[in-house]
């Protein structure tokens, strides 16, 4: 992706209408039909959806437990430190853990993306041409 020359300057953004690029619909459609693109979307979904569900549940467990089971959460588990504080602290490390895991997995996404663009270029598409924008 970094190898692509710079594209659309401001004036093009502002003046580009659907009509101007009406004939050039195949670039986007071509990517849509690539197996690699389907795989990319699937791979993203497989990571993002479960992780989002997990972090939302894990996060809201904190106010729910602290709010509705304060006695349980007040139990001292590590010297003077109670469960409530440890659970809150764990949220930070879980969030960092998910972020780093995502960065690792996303390397694969970047490879997919770069490969798709290379294929497109090899097939003779002009990657720099702006798309039809809703302006």
């Amino acid at each position: 992706m970094a190898t692509l020359p710079r594209a659309n300057d401001d004036s093009r953004w502002e003046k580009t209408g659907a009509a101007k690029f009406g004939a050039e619909k195949s670039k986007w459609d071509r990517v849509e039909e690539m197996d690699e693109f389907r795989l990319l979307l699937l791979a993203k979904k497989e990571f993002v959806i479960p992780m989002t569900v997990f972090f939302v549940v894990y996060y809201f467990a904190l106010p729910v437990l602290v709010g509705y089971a304060p006695e349980f959460m007040s139990r001292k588990v590590l010297g003077p430190v109670n469960l409530a504080y440890l659970f809150a602290l764990s949220q930070f490390f879980v969030a960092w853990g998910i972020a780093f895991a995502y960065v690792r997995v996303a390397r694969k996404f970047d490879k997919f993306g770069a490969h798709i663009l290379e294929t497109l270029k090899r097939e003779g598409y002009d990657l720099n041409q702006a798309g039809k924008r809703g302006l």
Partner: protein, 538 residues
């Protein structure tokens, strides 16, 4: 003595940031440079800038104060501010960078009817930014009254000064100057926080056990004058039944779903060259923001144990906890340093808010809604943005002065997050991920999310309440009636309303083949970066 040191430190901060503004002004000759710093900000720079844009005086002074007064319940606040960035990282940042140009509305306008969605998105952006800005400015003025007691700087001078500085940064230096102001502020804030944490630990002989033992026996005088000893690690000192737990959940929802809809955070991702850099910058921001919020443990509990609630209450109230702690552990000069950081914190946040509000007005309303997407003369959009920055700044200064230093502005922050979560996030998420989504869905989602947030705040305990006749002035509730909605944070109800309105608006509206076709284009673009805005030469 500390007054002079505070002023000298603060004046040096102003001098440095104005120098940066002068340097940046020579590089903001095009729209991409004025609105997006030429998209050349690196991952670590943008990460630090996001942190500087985000960590407001509410975090630094407010959370430290809440922990000092209510112990664990105050620390609960800290958690949500970091976890919220997972929503930004996993769901919003990369597609936004790939699909948009300068504003949040770009992503919606990509596939929907641009005029109505841009107009609504801009109303929502301006609402969030101005309310948040007013809260920050009232905070800045009140802070001056407390920190520089005895100097000649009044509330009005402080508010005007902060307002003028933020206008100067944005009007002359654009996004580039704003970015560097935020970076410097974040570095100062982290430096001060780390130092203060080390000093607190030193007070307890670097023994965490000793520190946490002290927290479990905090003594202070209660309202009726009795000496009480409480375990500050115990939850429930602030959020009590029946509504306390719901309030915590509602606040959490506003943070987790609102941060990814805050316009001044979102525009930061247009300043980097590509989606990969945007992703890495979120992780940088998470490392900094997370470390900061973990350290609120030392700031807040340190103030509770070393300074004590009684002393803080007599010397300016809970917002003074962190500065007073600095004074107690390291004397007047350090107090001055921490005070100067508190000002810098506010300046960087309001500058970020000003640029996002003025960009939205210029790019969404002026160019795209009024003039059908065409700049009539070169540089028109930048000129309009500069004028808008000036107007928005002037309005914020005026309102902050009228409200005065004792105004209750905490609900404005709650409102900003609620609108971001209830109006902005649903339409951003549906635009990026839902094929069937259409214009009527976007307009309904934005409109009802915005209205629900505002109305629930107006009928909630921030505005409604019955006070005794002795309560006068700003502390008195605006409407003397028992609150109809029991929570201060409307998120619990307003976020589902925003999502439901976007959903129903879509299903009740006509199917839009145009939007579906564009969705496929957006999907390709968001996921591969094909056709996305590139970095430009400086």
């Amino acid at each position: 003595m500390h007054l002079d040191v505070t002023l000298v430190l603060f004046l040096s901060f102003i001098a440095i940031t104005l120098g940066i503004t002068a340097w940046a002004s020579r590089r903001s000759g095009s729209s991409a440079s004025f609105f997006a710093a030429n998209r050349q900000i690196t991952a670590w720079q943008n990460g630090i800038a996001v942190a500087g844009d985000y960590m407001s005086a509410a975090s630094f002074l407010g959370i430290a104060g809440l922990i000092a007064f209510f112990g664990y319940d105050g620390f609960m606040y800290s958690v949500g501010w970091l976890v919220a960035y997972l929503t930004v990282l996993l769901i919003v940042a990369e597609p936004l960078r790939n699909a948009g140009k300068y504003t949040m509305a770009d992503v919606l306008a990509y596939r929907l009817n641009p005029r109505p969605v841009r107009a609504m998105a801009s109303i929502s952006t301006l609402t969030v930014s101005t309310f948040y800005m007013i809260a920050q400015m009232v905070g800045a003025g009140a802070l001056v009254a407390l920190l520089l007691k005895g100097s000649h700087i009044s509330y009005t001078t402080a508010v005007t000064g902060v307002g003028i500085l933020m206008i100067v940064y944005v009007v002359f230096g654009g996004m580039l100057a704003t970015t560097w102001v935020q970076i410097i502020k974040a570095v100062l804030l982290m430096g001060g926080t780390i130092l203060l944490s080390i000093l607190v630990l030193a007070h307890f002989h670097f023994s965490l056990v000793e520190f946490f033992r002290a927290i479990s026996q905090v003594s202070y005088h209660s309202a009726d004058g009795k000496l009480v000893v409480k375990d500050f690690m115990t939850p429930g000192l602030r959020f009590k039944p029946p509504y306390g737990p719901l309030e915590l959940i509602s606040l959490g929802m506003a943070l987790i779903f609102g941060t990814a809809g805050l316009p001044h955070i979102l525009v930061r991702f247009y300043t980097v060259p590509d989606a990969k850099t945007a992703r890495h910058s979120v992780v940088w921001a998470m490392v900094i923001i997370g470390s900061f919020y973990i350290m609120t443990t030392f700031l807040g509990f340190g103030a509770a144990t070393i300074v004590g609630r009684d002393f803080i209450a007599k010397n300016g109230g809970n917002n003074m906890s962190a500065p007073l702690l600095a004074k107690m552990v390291a004397g007047d000069v350090f107090f001055a340093f921490i005070s100067a950081i508190a000002f810098a914190t506010i300046l960087a946040v309001v500058a970020g808010l000003t640029i996002s509000a003025s960009t939205s007005f210029a790019h969404d309303v002026w160019t795209n809604v009024i003039h059908a997407g065409v700049e009539r003369s070169p540089g028109e959009e930048r000129l309009v943005a500069r004028i808008a920055a000036f107007v928005v700044g002037a309005i914020a200064i005026a309102i902050a002065i009228v409200l005065g230093p004792t105004a209750n502005v905490a609900f404005l922050v709650a409102l900003a997050f609620a609108v971001a979560a209830s109006a902005n996030l649903p339409v951003i998420v549906f635009s990026i991920y839902w094929k069937r989504f259409n214009t009527s869905g976007a307009v309904c989602g934005l409109l009802f999310g915005l209205l629900a947030s505002i109305i629930l705040i107006l009928i909630g305990p921030s505005v409604m309440g019955i006070d005794a006749v002795t309560v006068v002035g700003p502390a008195r509730h605006a409407i003397q009636h028992a609150p109809i909605f029991p929570l201060e944070n409307p998120g619990l109800l307003s976020i589902p309303i925003g999502f439901a309105a976007a959903l129903l608006g879509t299903l009740l509206g006509a199917k839009d083949p145009h939007s579906v076709q564009r969705f496929e284009e957006l999907e390709v673009r968001a996921n591969t970066g094909l056709g996305s805005e590139r970095a430009t030469a400086a």
